[in-house]
Amino acid sequence: MLRATLKSLLARKVRLLLSGLAVVLGVMFVSGAFVLTDTLGRSFDAVFADAYEGIDVNVAGKPKVALGEMQGEQVAATVPAATVQRVREVAGVAEATGVVNTDGAQLIGGNGKVVTSFGPPQLGANWRGESDLVKLREGREPRADDEIVVNAALAQAGKVKVGDRVGVLTPLTPKQTFTLVGIFGYSGDRDSIGGVNEIAFTTPVAQRLLLGERDVFTNVTVRAAPGVGDATLRDDVARTLGDGFEVKTGAQLSADASASLKEGLSFFNKILLGFAAVALLVGTFLILNTFSIIVAQRTRELALMRAIGASGRQIIGSVVLEAVAIGLIASVLGLGAGIGIGALLAYVFGNLAGGLTLAGIGVPASAVIGSFAVGLLITVVAALLPALRAARIPPIAAMQDVANPDRPLTRVTVTGGVITGIGAVLLFLGLSGNAGDNALPVILGGVLFAFIGVALLTPLISRPVVSLLGAVFAWSVPGKLGRLNSGRNPRRTAITAAALMVGIALVTGVTVILDSAKGSIGALAQDTIKAELVISGASTGPRPASFDPAVLTKVAALPGVQMADGEYGDMGMVDGKVTWLAASSDVTALQRIFGAKTTAGDISRLGPDQMLFSSDSARSRNISVGSTVTVQASRGEPRTYTVSGIYESSELTSPVQLPPQAVKDFAIPKPNQGFIQLAPGTRVADVQPQVEALLADSPEVSVADRDAFIEQQTGSLDSLLTMIQILLALAIVIAVLGIVNTLALSVLERTRELGLLRAIGLRRAQTMRMITVEAVVISVFGALLGIVVGVGLGAAVVRALKDDGITDLILPWGQMGLFLLLAAVIGVVAAVLPAVRAARINVLGAIAHD
């Protein structure tokens, strides 16, 4: 029995490989995701271990605002110089060094543009002399206030050399000019550690520029005396300093840093796994269909097995065994391909990150286990239904041509209806916010159920729709035959079309959501922002782009400018709760530029001890005009404010508004965006070049008119959409394989019939046209279903987000038309091989064929 199964498997290897390919692609995503994150994770481990090697114990201030990984960059409190002295006096400390080290120091390169890093930190530091890790390669250390040294990778990227005058931006200060006096590298002849760039100043300059205070440090690094354990010394230092400091060993520091980075990587991992899930869902349809067709074709053979004594269980076993074999082969291939893809992506990522030295490509156990579990499970689950059907073949089918009766669709339709219903309920629960924390899994479950349910309903829908679609081609005999063929086996047509539906529905759904979001935000901004010119920039690192506040004063003085407002922001705490803090340089901007309406109190003015709340956050915190609240920004001491007004919440307003005086304690005390209102009758084109000139020393930002600004702001949604579409295209490719597979098997099944048609005079070209029409009808049907389901899903999400500002439902008509056209092309392409095969059928052989 085992041998019979394996032999029949070998005899059909090509068509099974075709369906196995879908599993290969899905598994490839799974293993690729794990290999990539594992390789990058270990590479970063090495980077951090290296960077913290010379540190036995580290002392840092506790951050004033504790933030989670996704909330933004945390700013640690500074450590006074006196503390360094106290640490130095602790028994067992051989050496204690005060370190200034913050992210966000940017070099303006030889071409006047900011040198960007795309991810890794851009550190600003105090020069602490050469060490085991750091070695000067050229020039000398910085001695004067206007002297800096940079690492070799940064010097190369910025095309600067020793002796050049170079500009530097820091989070706290606008552009300053320095003389580059030296270039340093790291141990092992490295130009950078993990793509990190570093600018080192003299200690007082570093303190002033990077921390904004005198005689303070970001942290203190400690070398232990010989024989003193790191952990013991850590505890001793912590005891001496008391509360308010975070004291860690170098090993802890390295572990923490790499753990927080891996959290980011795991997010990446989840996205890749999500796409793997889509690919595998489509693959499941494909395998289900292939096995169904194969079982139907082997009816006589399976009946013979039953007639000569095989039990139903043995038949199920033989079909499942085939599935296991395909699953295993596909998993092995997918694992291999995934390792390749993972390695390739890691290489690309390493290069993008500025030359991250990759640890060897590793294949973690999770990749192997995940690949085989997913590959085997999917194939076996998909083969189960056909296997059960195979077991029900009566042995008598071996002796006579048992006509495959058109089984009624009632059961499958009722099941489909019930499952679609469950999906709809889950979607409703998830989207209406009734599911609480489980909203995402509930929504995903709802989408999955909806897909399966619709797939089950498809056979019923397919009859009228396919016959309608086919009517387009019914003017010629081959077209008519093709149309009839596609309606012949509604289940098979349905599953093939459903595979295409999944991909198209997801792309359409995502497009509907993002287009609606873009349209709604754009329309809102268009209606409410009363500024003709906007200064803004794309952030090049973890910190948003910012510019010199002095520019605003100069802009306001330009002729024709009525108002120039700078917008500031910071993640801070309001009464102990993490909140986005906003401040405008001109307090009237809230009303005059953003169109805010008063709910209570007075929002047109703001004293230094007063603040405003949005109506939503006032309600949720139970705050009214006259309440007092405590605000802690990223830096500085907590301050108490009196609430002097409440404004109506809108998409363009922040939860709270602080007076301009508060921005000095923000992590970045510089404006991120500037809004310029022109006097009536002033031409935008007259003012824009003058503002551009004023921004010469703020290379991170540029000025644009309002339409261009809105386009910039929503442009990020466009690139997100493109990325999702590229990844989902894979699901569509798999569905195309499905159509090829179904057609190839149908052609094989109808060899005799095709031979007959040829014998009575159907030409080769007509045969090919007949097959092509069948393919086009199936794929256009799939795309149509996908568009309908996708619009449904998208519209449901958009409706659920109505309160979050997505008010307009925008249907991407053009794109939907494109999908239909694409589906027709897909059908033609998918039909090529099966059609050629059908046309080549030997007429005599086909008719004589048993």
Partner: protein, 255 residues
């Protein structure tokens, strides 16, 4: 009429008042109307009749491939009627062999693998001496490694015969075994079937519409309109042909 010959020998297969009705209401068609017959052990019986006489249906019911509407069927001491799927599976493994008109060999397996398939499905080892005897009798020793597509029709049917014989079933049902063969290959296969009955005591029930083929049998049972209408012992092609001709003129038959 009830076929009653050979009551002295124990029957290998027996039908008692078997009815087979398809469809319901207006569309009701009775393929078998109260057929009772016994097929003795160690004999070669042919079932004949014109198209639509119910001969194939009778065989399917006897073999447990189709259920009966009324009456009982027995194979050896097993009552087939009412057996569940696992009971029927066991019956097919232990007591029944099949030979089909279309040979029905698995194209992917060699001749030898095809012959041994029922044994391997049941998880049994063939009796080596018997296996050798079967292979020599069908004369396929030099063809064992070939695939069905590399064999002639006659050779394929002999492989199918060997497959049915190798498990030594209680009874072998052959459904038009020569229907797809030229007369020479057909004669080879029929000779081989008769020899396996004469020399090895095998029981064979064969459905055919070919008088020449039926003449190889020890006994011929004639069916018409779902009823047994006649029978011949030690038939020749001529006597069979005569009986068939008589059947063409409708005869009122006493049940």
């Amino acid at each position: 009429m009830t076929a009653t010959v050979g009551r002295h020998a124990q029957a290998a297969a027996r039908a008692n008042d078997v009815w087979k009705v398809y469809g319901t209401g207006e569309a009701q068609v009775a393929a078998l109307r109260g057929v009772s017959a016994e097929f003795e052990r160690g004999r070669f019986t042919a079932i004949m009749g014109p198209s639509g006489s119910g001969k194939s249906t009778l065989m399917h019911c006897l073999a447990g491939l189709d259920s009966v509407s009324r009456g009982t069927v027995q194979i050896g001491d097993t009552t087939v009627t009412g057996l569940g799927d696992s009971g029927l599976t066991k019956l097919r493994r232990d007591k029944v062999g099949f030979i089909f008109q279309q040979f029905n060999l698995l194209p992917t397996l060699t001749a030898q693998e095809n012959i041994l398939l029922p044994m391997s499905i049941a998880g049994r080892k063939p009796d080596p001496a018997w296996y050798d005897t079967v292979i020599d009798t069908v004369g396929l020793r030099d063809r064992l490694g070939h695939r069905p597509s590399q064999l002639s029709g006659g050779q394929q049917q002999r492989v199918a015969c060997a497959r049915a014989l190798v498990a030594r079933p209680e009874v072998i049902f052959a459904d038009e075994p020569t229907g797809n063969l030229d007369s020479r290959s057909g004669a080879e296969v029929l000779n081989f079937l008769r020899n396996s009955v004469r020399e090895h005591g095998q029981t064979i029930v064969m459905v055919t519409h070919d008088p020449t083929a039926a003449a190889y049998a020890d006994r011929v049972v004639f069916l018409a309109d779902g009823q047994i209408v006649s029978e011949l012992i030690e038939p020749t092609a001529d006597t069979v042909l005569d009986t068939m001709k008589k059947l063409d003129t409708p005869v009122e038959v006493a049940g």
